[in-house]
Amino acid sequence: MATVTAAPTHSLTLEAPLPLDSGQELARAEIAYETYGELAADKSNAVLIFHALTGDQYVASTNPVTGKPGWWERMVGPGKPIDTTRFHVICANVIGGCLGSTGPASLRAEGTPWGMDFPVITIRDMARAQVALLDALGIGTLYAAIGGSMGGMVALSLAANFPDRAERVMVIASAARHSAQNIAFHEVGRQAVMADPNWQDGAYYGTGKAPDAGLAVARMAAHITYLSEDGLTAKFGRRLQDRSAKSFGFDADFQVESYLRYQGNAFTSRFDANSYLYITRALDYFDLAEEHGGRLADAFANSRARFCLISFDSDWLYPTAESRSVVHALNANALPVSFVELSAPYGHDSFLLDVPALDRVVKGFLDR
């Protein structure tokens, strides 16, 4: 089941057409979002969190599709580093997504799903949609914009393109552009989806068939990039799955195979394959310097925000060098920036996991 639908708690229809980088526009785009904590009377305490590629707006509350806790509950909540007794936290599903915001599975005006007629979107389009949400909510300037991974790219795009909308910008385990290696892994995933006969050129909605096998393979390949070799070795090594000897066949003999198959299959029950194509495309198109005349420093020429960047030493998807190039671009504008590479064994996924130093840095950055 790939056409995921869930009733979002909050949803807003943008009255004005949303202009897109492709030159097209999206009429009556829906933005599904969640909020946590009270908005102050002067609206000075709003914190916007951007989710990652396959994340969603349920940052600190149960995801209604999976029944699992919010994806960043360890960071967001009462007394947590992003303290909801102090901040009004907003998290919205990106456009192109499949958890309530307009995406390829949504119905267009004619009443049929968009499928591959959905316009190609960019990271800047995602930022633009969320600025439209802020406008609708009457929030001028955010106390902070925060994102990890793809969410960090949306945060950077917001800082560069809407410099007066956030006083603080926090970018975790992210990059200012997708590298050739990043694009290559995504292309493997997209080709896996498109090679699945059930994909049907994207017009699988309502056919009773969906490219679950292809999407699962895409997820398996991507999942490897979220972990570290040391992490995989520690968790699985070469251990066998529920057997004492190799089967001399192609079952999931190894625990790591079994784990990846599980991850791939579980993913198809919560994510739309076409959304995966569109959002990975948006990531691959992302190059913040290119948008600003080829010089990354120029992207932040109008910024007055305080920045905090964090990378992890075991993250080879968006390695420290990528964060450092953003830091140099911010330094070139003499902007106040903090940067630290934290040590954690979990690879790219470290930003979602138990890294006490991350909690301290997030809290410290938001305290002032």
Partner: protein, 200 residues
Amino acid sequence: MSTAGGTLRADLAVIARHIRAGARVLDIGCGDGALMAILRDQRGVDARGLEIDPEEVEKAVARGLSVVQGDANRALEHYPDHAFDYAILSQTLQTAERPDRMLEQLLRVGQQAFVSFPNFGYWRMRMDLLLHGRMPVTRHLPVSWYETENIHHLTVADFEALARDKGVTVEKSWFFTGDRAVGGGHANWRAEYAVYQLSR
């Protein structure tokens, strides 16, 4: 700034006292940000830091300071000319790959610079070397030659010669032994460490 003297090392306290309120400051090798926090909280200074040790950076960021983890030998080149009123380099010059280039960078990113360093011309060091023929290990420099980060030992006289050669103006200088200030006369003999305020 009397409280600053109580909580800061003597060289940092003298630096803190001579920084204009509200100034823009880059503290290179800022550690956990002790000086930056005092400058921010007591003088309204816009303080930024650069520190190589990630654990120190984490402590500084956790106290709400803007500190970048990086190697001063390479990171300074990314800052624009005269982005700061003051660049501070405390007890770090002797660890630089090229102290002469570091000094140039300080006075490029800062209108003025504060530099403090241990004086290897201090008489106890000279006596140590003279009498024992061994590289000195002192209260102020407690690490043996093979594990010290101090790769470019210098004296007060060496530093003043470098400043002259580079066309750098010494605005003010202070000399200390322990926490006690010593006069400028015979500083190359008498001072355990030195602080200079520099400009171009």
